[in-house]
Symmetry: C2
Subunit: 410 residues, 2 copies
C-alpha cells in the first residue's frame, strides 16, 4: 500500500549525512550548530510532505499529519556520537520522512495519519534520550531546566544558549497514537554473521552502570616498599579481575559486561597511584537478573574492601536503563512484512544497545526493526550498511506501517 522511492530515500540520507560529514563518518552531536541546522532542514522536508513540522522546546523535530485523530509515530534520532557513523539514528529518521511522504502521495486513509520524529540527544551528549523522555512527560518545564548536563551546568542553560528557552515542548497525546515504530542499524554483528537481512526486535536490554573509586596513598615508586603501599591502581586491577570472573560465572547467555574506563591518579611511571576509578557496565534483557547482578557486585566490592588496605567506594549510577519487551502486535506486523519481502532471511533478536523506543515503550505499543551493520561496527566513522539493505529495511517498515494503518482504519 505504501510504495517508497529508493532513490529519493538514499538521496535524503546522503543530504542529512552532509550535515557534519567527516570522511566516511559524521560529527553532529546534539545541540551543535550543525545539528540544529540539520533539524531545520529536516522540518522543511517534512513540511514539503504535507506535515505540520517544527523544532520543539528540547530540539525534537516533530511532524504531525493534520486533520486526523489517530496516528502512528515513526522515527529515530539524528544527533550523533562525538565521532559517529552516518546511519546511527539518521537511518530511522529518513525512513520516517520517506514513508510519511509516500503515504501522503498514495492518498491517506481518512482520519489516520503518520507522525514523524527526530528525537534530541539520544546519544547523551548532554542528557541521554532527552528528547524522547521530554515527549513522554518525564519532567515538567521546571524539572527540565534544572536537569544537570553531563557537560556541567543545567539543561536550562543549554536550551537558553541554543535559543530554545522560550519554545514550547511537544508532549504526547495518549489518545492519538496507535504506537511507535523505529528502524535502526543493528550496531552489532549478528545479522551479518547469520546471513539475515532484517532483525525484528523482541526486547531492548537494561543497563546498569557502576563507578568504583579506590582511595590509596600516592607514593614514590622507588622508595616505598611493597608491604607499605596502598596502591589504588593494583586494587583496581584486582577488583576488575575478580568482578570479571564473578560475572563470567553468573552471566546468562547474552549478558555483556564492560570495564570501559580505568583511570589512575596521578598516572605517572614513577608514582604509586593514590587514586583510581573504574567504570563497569552490565547489560541484560532481564531486570530481575540485573538486580541480582547489582547485589553481587555490591557484595564483591564490599568483600574486597574489607580485606584491602585501599578504601573502596561503589556508586550505582542513577540513570539505569530498564530492560523492556517490544509490543507483541508490533513485532507481528514487522515479522509479517519481513517474511513477505525476504522469506526466511529475517530473525527475531534482542537489542543490546539502548534506543528511544525503550522510553516510548512505557507509553505506547512500540516496535523496532534492524538492518545489518557491516562488520558489526558502529559509534565509529567506519559504520556502514549496504544500499540494498538500507532500501529493503525501509520497504519492510513501510509494509508494516501500511498494515498497521489499514487495521486501524477497519
Amino acid at each position: 500500500m505504501i510504495e517508497i522511492d529508493p532513490e529519493r530515500l538514499l538521496k535524503d540520507l546522503s543530504t542529512l549525512r552532509s550535515f557534519g560529514a567527516v570522511g566516511n563518518g559524521v560529527v553532529r552531536t546534539a545541540f551543535s550548530d550543525i545539528d540544529m541546522a540539520s533539524r531545520r532542514w529536516l522540518a522543511e522536508q517534512l513540511a514539503n510532505a504535507d506535515l505540520k513540522a517544527s523544532v520543539d522546546g528540547v530540539g525534537n523535530v516533530i511532524a504531525t499529519t493534520e486533520e486526523c485523530s489517530r496516528s502512528l509515530l515513526i522515527g529515530s534520532h539524528s544527533d550523533t556520537q562525538p565521532t559517529g557513523g552516518w546511519l546511527d539514528g539518521a537511518l530511522g529518521v529518513i525512513y520516517g520522512l520517506e514513508i510519511a511522504r509516500s503515504y501522503t502521495e498514495a492518498g491517506r486513509l481518512p482520519g489516520i495519519g503518520i507522525d514523524v520524529v527526530s528525537w534530541m540527544d539520544e546519544e547523551g551528549t548532554y542528557f541521554s534520550s532527552l528528547g524522547s523522555r521530554s515527549f513522554c512527560g518525564e519532567f515538567t518545564d521546571a524539572e527540565l531546566f534544572e536537569l544537570p548536563s553531563v557537560q556541567g551546568g543545567s539543561i536550562g542553560d543549554l536550551l537558553q544558549r541554543v535559543g530554545l528557552g522560550e519554545t514550547s515542548r511537544s508532549i504526547l497525546d495518549h489518545d492519538r497514537y496507535l504506537g511507535y515504530l523505529e528502524a535502526h542499524i543493528e550496531q552489532g554483528p549478528f545479522l551479518e554473521k547469520t546471513g539475515h537481512r532484517i532483525g525484528v526486535v523482541t526486547s531492548i536490554v537494561g543497563v546498569r552502570d557502576f563507578v568504583i573509586r579506590f582511595h590509596g596513598s600516592q607514593n614514590h615508586a622507588g622508595t616505598t616498599p611493597m608491604n607499605l603501599r596502598r596502591d589504588a591502581g593494583m586494587a583496581a586491577v584486582r577488583t576488575i579481575h575478580g568482578l570479571d570472573r564473578m560475572l563470567a560465572a553468573t552471566a546468562r547467555d547474552k549478558t555483556v559486561w564492560t570495564f570501559g574506563e580505568i583511570r589512575l591518579h596521578p598516572g605517572a611511571a614513577s608514582i604509586v597511584p593514590g587514586e583510581a576509578q573504574v567504570h563497569l557496565q552490565v547489560r541484560d534483557s532481564d531486570e530481575g537478573f540485573l538486580d541480582l547482578v547489582t547485589r553481587q557486585v555490591e557484595a564483591h566490592v564490599e568483600d574486597f574492601g574489607r580485606s584491602s588496605e585501599v578504601g573502596l567506594e561503589l556508586e550505582s549510577l542513577q540513570d539505569a536503563v530498564r530492560a523492556v519487551e517490544m509490543d507483541d502486535r508490533m513485532q507481528g506486523y514487522c515479522a509479517h512484512a519481513a517474511e513477505v519481502l525476504v522469506p526466511g532471511e529475517w530473525m527475531r533478536m534482542q537489542s543490546g544497545a539502548a534506543h528511544d523506543a525503550q522510553i516510548l515503550a512505557s507509553k505506547m505499543a512500540s516496535g523496532m526493526i534492524f538492518v545489518p551493520s557491516i562488520g558489526g561496527v558502529s559509534h565509529d566513522f567506519n559504520e556502514d550498511t549496504g544500499a540494498d539493505d538500507i532500501v529493503l529495511g525501509c520497504q519492510v517498515m513501510a509494509a508494516a506501517v501500511g498494515a498497521i494503518l489499514q487495521d486501524a482504519a477497519k
Copy 2:
C-alpha cells in the same frame, strides 16, 4: 674541623624555597624562569663564599675553589618536580654552599678545595639528570644539541630558548676530584619508621621501565557479545594481574615494581576498549636480577600474547638506570661522622630513588647520606623534614668532608 652555622643554613634553604614557593611546596621545574633565577642567586652566594661560580652551558651551577689542584665535589640539584617539595635536591645544594663557606671561613687546607654544584634537570622535566650526564662527558656538544626532549623538540632548541646556546659546559677534570658527596632527603619511610636520623647509602637501585601496548577491536559495549570481543582493556588487566603475581614470586627482599600508568582508548563507559597501554617499572639494587626480571617479563608477555585474541607489544624503554654501589671509603667517612655525632642513631640503607650520584659514581668515588622524610612523603607539596634533622645532616656531612680533606692533605 668544619663548623657549619645552623641559622645561616636554614635561612639560605628558606631563600631558595622562595623561588617558586606554592603553599608548603615548590614549583621550580628545570629551565623555567624561576629555576634560572634561583641558579643565578645561588652562583652569587657561592661567589660570596670565595668560590669561582657560574651557570654552565646546560644550566649547572658549578663553583670551584681556585688555586687548588685537588677538590671534593659536593652538591645535588635545585630543580623540582612539577608539584615538588621544598627539600628534594635543594637540601643537598645548600649543604654544599654552607659547608664550602664554613671551610673557607675556617681557613682552607693548602691546595685542597671544595667544589659545589647544583645539577640541572635531575627530575627529567626535559632529560633526566641532564646536568650530571653532561658533566660526566656522556655527550659531545653536537650530541647534546640533538638529544630529544621529553616535551618534544631537542635539548638544543631548549638551550637556545633559555639563552644558554652559546655558553660553554663544565666537563669533569679526572685528576682534580677526590670524589663526590651528595646529601638528600630519604624520600621514603625507613629512617622515620626505624627511629634513625641519618642514612648512609650503600647502593642506588637500578630501574627498568617497560611499556606494554594492547591492540584489540573497539566495539559497542551493548551489541558485541563477550565471545566476539577483542577487549584491549581486559587483556591489560589480565596481563598486569599475571605479571604482578610473577614479580611477587620472583622478587628479592627489596625489589619494588609499579604499574603507574594504565590508559584505555577511547576510555568510555559504553565502548569496548580497542587500545590499551600499561607502564611497568621495576627497581632493584642488583643489575643481574634486573636482567633476569626483564627476560621473565618478556616471556610472560609473549606467552600471554600467544593465547590472546588481543595483540601485545612490549617495549623496554632505552633510558634504563643502572644499579650502582656507593664507594666503600666514602661510606666509611659518612658512617664514622654519623657514629660520632649520633651514636647508634644512623643506619646503612639502599636508595630506592635515582640520584645524580648514580651518574657520578661511574667517574669518581661517590657517596650519599640521607636525612629522614616526615611520613616518607616526597614529590609532593607536603614533603618535609624536621629542622633538627636538617641541621644534623649538614653537620654529619661537614664532618665527613672535613675528614676526607684532611686525609687528602696528608
